[in-house]
């Protein structure tokens, strides 16, 4: 039978258009046109709606990939999924992580012990989503279907083996709102931002609930248009979602562990209990199998830590462990909230090349007040 062999390479970027790290991997034969499945990165820039750093990086990475795959830029998305999160405030190093997947032949019998499962990855696109679907049940169901598809592509059947689901879905635009209303369809919001009532936030959160639905974290009976961004007790512990107005359908990448995988990587995840919970970050590293000493990651073992993916959603309450913080009233909360997550993770991993996205207030990505952290670790042998 065919088994996956997945690798992940983290390349710091010296500028939004710096593809030298990827080129180096290609020159070293670590990337091949037929093995590159995803590019996941943090780009420097404002992180806001008109983030030209992200826009430039997106163009530069797609152009590099088109050349690498020898396909037209327009067709790159058919072969490689791009997840670029804008904004590297504070101690987040701009970088792109390349994910590769090879298929190798193994005997039916050759399954690993449950405690030694290894990394697999799966991808799937969703049905087209109309503007009236955004932030509502339509989007939730279509993301759930795509998540199930990506699990199949990954060869995963048990939701407990899924540790990270990255999703990109359509948001709303002035144009798509006009379109919907011209067809007498309502839209979830006229606010195009990622603010509390922004379409971007609704799209991200519907996507998160879609993942939760597919993984059984959220019961279908509990879901309706009304609960999106209202009932915060409904959430996924592994969904990291983003949205863009230009997209027409959703994309899903699932990361999990499988006993048939031939990868030398393993993924694990945990959630923080609140905004300052470093232990939650440590738990994710532990879950992935990193060795600890004296309650802290073993310095000597940190070399095996390949990458960390974390959200930094701002809590909905201004009380953290009994005391008031002013972050919710801060006009720069979006930037600062993201930066704080970067520090929380960096202070544990001892490095700044972590994938940390967020800044939005409240989310169905992770429990109320807490955030999702996933870690990928290299396994001996």
């Amino acid at each position: 039978m065919k088994a996956q062999q997945v690798e992940m390479y983290v390349c710091p970027m010296a500028s939004p258009s710096d593809t030298s790290g990827l080129q180096q991997l290609a020159d070293q034969g670590k990337l091949a046109p037929d093995t590159l499945v995803a590019l996941v990165g943090k780009t420097e820039g404002t992180g806001s709606h008109d983030d030209w750093g992200r826009a430039w990086a997106d163009v530069a990475l797609r152009e590099w990939t088109a050349r690498f795959l020898s396909v037209p830029v327009m067709e790159v998305a058919k072969h490689v999924i791009f997840v670029l999160s804008g904004g590297c405030p504070g101690v987040i190093t701009p970088h792109v992580a390349a994910v590769t997947r090879q298929w190798v032949d193994i005997e039916e019998s050759a399954g690993r012990a449950p405690e030694d499962k290894r990394l697999v990855v799966g991808r799937a696109g969703s049905e087209p989503m109309g503007p009236e679907d955004v932030g509502r049940m339509g989007q939730i169901r279509k993301v759930a279907d795509a998540t199930r598809g990506a699990m199949r592509d990954a060869g995963l059947t048990d939701p407990r083996d899924v540790h990270l689901v990255m999703v990109k879905v359509p948001g709303l635009t002035t144009a798509s709102i006009k379109d919907a209303e011209s067809r007498n369809q309502s839209v979830v919001s006229h606010d195009l931002t990622f603010g509390p009532e922004g379409a971007g936030a609704y799209a991200n959160d519907a996507a998160a609930l879609g993942v939760g639905l597919a993984l059984g974290e959220v019961a279908e009976s509990a879901l309706s248009d009304e609960v999106v961004r209202r009932d915060w007790n409904l959430y996924s512990e592994v969904a990291m979602t983003s949205s863009g107005g230009e997209k027409k359908h959703g994309e899903v990448v699932v990361f999990g562990n499988s006993s048939t995988s031939r990868s030398s990587l393993r993924i694990g995840h945990a959630v923080t209990k609140d905004f300052i919970d470093a232990q939650g970050v440590r738990n994710a590293l532990k879950a992935a199998g990193l060795r600890f000493r004296d309650g802290l990651p073993d310095e000597a073992d940190l070399g095996r830590l390949v990458h960390v993916f974390a959200k930094s959603v701002i809590p909905g309450s201004d009380i953290v462990r009994g005391h008031r913080i002013t972050l919710l009233d801060d006009p720069d909360a979006y930037q600062i909230g993201k930066a704080l997550g970067g520090m929380l993770v960096a202070s544990v991993t001892g490095r700044t090349t972590n994938y940390v996205s967020g800044g939005e207030r409240n989310s169905h990505q992770g429990p109320p007040g807490g955030n999702i952290v996933a870690a990928v670790v290299r396994v001996e042998g």
Copy 2:
């Protein structure tokens, strides 16, 4: 002989003018007009030059203190030192810490064991500083003298017993620059900000070098106008300094440990080795005598942690542990840099009521890239 008994009370503030916490302490008899020696706080607001949150808090706290001491507002400063640091971005709870000092009679002989020294505090004002002194040897020498005076007031002779020196000095204003130049005196800068060449930064750093000179951390022979904000290898590990245009002379508060102290508090300090060094923060808690378990502060013992004072100066280099960060180019670096320090400390102390000031780039307060952290712990018995 007379010995000190020092107490410290941390009061969260619900708004810049909230003095209810202090009033409650007064009603409980914990504060007395003749024992209150300092109010040290973090105020919510922009943290920038025209921070009305800080300005309002300053007025409200002085008015409250004037009523409490039954003296005119103008005379409050003769009795109580105010150190208010503006800006609580992220996870820094606005608060004010009240420091009280009583004198009790003890026998000459009754000294504590060296390992059981306890908290003492001392204060002193400096000679007047002219605008031409700001950021230069004049300011350095006058702060050094005042630091020695404050040590005497604290009853401290060994610099190794000094763990925190808070200093406020005059900065420059449009008016004071005019005055100096009308007398054909030059000034260190025409930039009134806390930017890399700002007068505020020069004043803070001259004050830090003054503390270093008094404590023997910096050799007088190594000092000159030219080294201020140039030779970063000259620094103090215990100086936290601030400057304001309106002031005419400097104020110094020294915190240290003494074998004759009758306080039930002890102070300790450490420095972080770089901007993401949580271990440096843990070391400060350890130095103050907090119990650790598995390399982390013992949850059960954290109740004894009274307060933490930390700087969060942005590094002068954009490389942290080998990787590039974009903070130095960020227009919001001042805010974000302060917020990141707040997270680094809160993620260790498990609380948000920490005193964290900073945001400026590079400083003689702490080693290059690192920052100062001091912790006050309650001692059993």
Copy 3:
């Protein structure tokens, strides 16, 4: 019969708590406890939700007024209406305008010629508004009733004599939303900001439609919850509204011209046709009776200009006179939009002491893309 004699005095403020200008007017006998009816000002500070400059100014002005009227601070609002707009970015001088009203005896017959009508002012409070009213018909109707009441208090019957209606209404807070939902009432938004879908914007716009309804600018048949912040063709040309979470009912101040007024002031208004329309500002000055020469305000006559009140609402479209602007995507749009209005007005009036509020995107205050400008001029004799 009794006729009004209204005066308006503009006092620049050197800081948020500077009441010296008002005190000077009081010392000169220009203000009397029984004639002061309103204080309308622009306060320096961030202009955002937690604007401590505005908060401090509000406290300082109320305390001064309480002393001046010899009433408790809590009762000041019964005698004087406070309208403080936060944020003076760019070329807007922080200031407060004091409005006084005296009643003088005149003969029934002694009416002025229609073209010589003079300034009158009227005030009224509204019915209490619950959180479920905010941004909806409930708020619209209650503001309309209060506007009619204020017209009666001003002695105005013809809506064409009304040139400026300042309104303050309750917005939403976390607490009031909880309250409404506990009573199974929905609220218009969970976004507490002044963003496109923010409760603050909905409250301001419902208030504007309420004024439009009272003045016949908007037909009751055209109004419903659904049109608020949706149908921009419904608007008032004289409503300047603001909202605050803490308030429980609305307050309305009407400024108009009457033939029985004994004031030496006259008010006029106009609207700008788009965001860069200086002619619209000039038209307001002309409407108030300022003399023009060569299409521009006569320099010699500008001394008669007492004050200008203008909105600076950001257009809903990113096209201005056929070309794209980036303001709508600017994270600082709220600040910059306000600043731009300040410049548009100052470049016409030749002074910076103008009342300019705004920054929100789209509004029922003024036509789509345009803004409201009202001017008060001193009349000879």
Copy 4:
């Protein structure tokens, strides 16, 4: 003899990488590889140090130009001068203006009447400038020489015929400062920003004084390192300068009017007397020959206005026409100051496609408190 025929085309840009406007001009035969001499534009983005919108636009425009000229990107600068000013806050439409120059044969005698002089353009590069030159006499003298060279290239001899001089010079970088100090050379500042004591501001202002020196606006005897950013009475009325760390030598483009020019364009300039002086903007349009009616630009004639170039330097004083503004203390002053200039110009020209750069505080570009405005108008026949 050879005479110049200069054209200028303004192309709005839909995004930082939008070169469609230039391509359209090329397709229409309005641009030819041998006539394109300069591209001057405003790019959308943060406008600050790490403005990726500007960086992306710079790359995109150079790549387009390289293809258009059929030369390697590295050699583009030999043929075309690029002046891109980052940041389009408020009502400044992102755009690029293409300047072309053809040489046509005319008779010696065929000079125009003095009042009918037409647009000419000239370019020159400067001697290399070392980091120790930046912001000092070295830079001033080298810019002066290059300005004289550009005047010769333009065929201009009388400084009164020069109405706009655009200059780009090297600033400082961490690397170039290291280099200078390793050679025991001092640098003017360690602050790399455009703040009051920033190297960027010093470079811009030395360049402005260089232009002033070449045009006789500033006497050589009045110049020294000490007067740069100190003596604001020394200034040029036609210099618009910018600086970038990466450059090694200066570039100068001179725009003026000549009696031998065969252009159908004319340029004129004026200065504003202060930050809100719309009349100064109108004077520039008048100086270029635009028809006025009733003291305002004749609407019907505004079609002849080709382009406006304006600076928006923030005044050094916080007093504008007798009243205090808070702009100097505003952390966003750089953005807001630029936006305000954009509004001042747009409110006069009735369009948003104006070139407005600035935001820095105080400058030798224009008189104290005032700014430079140049206008290009199409002439009938």
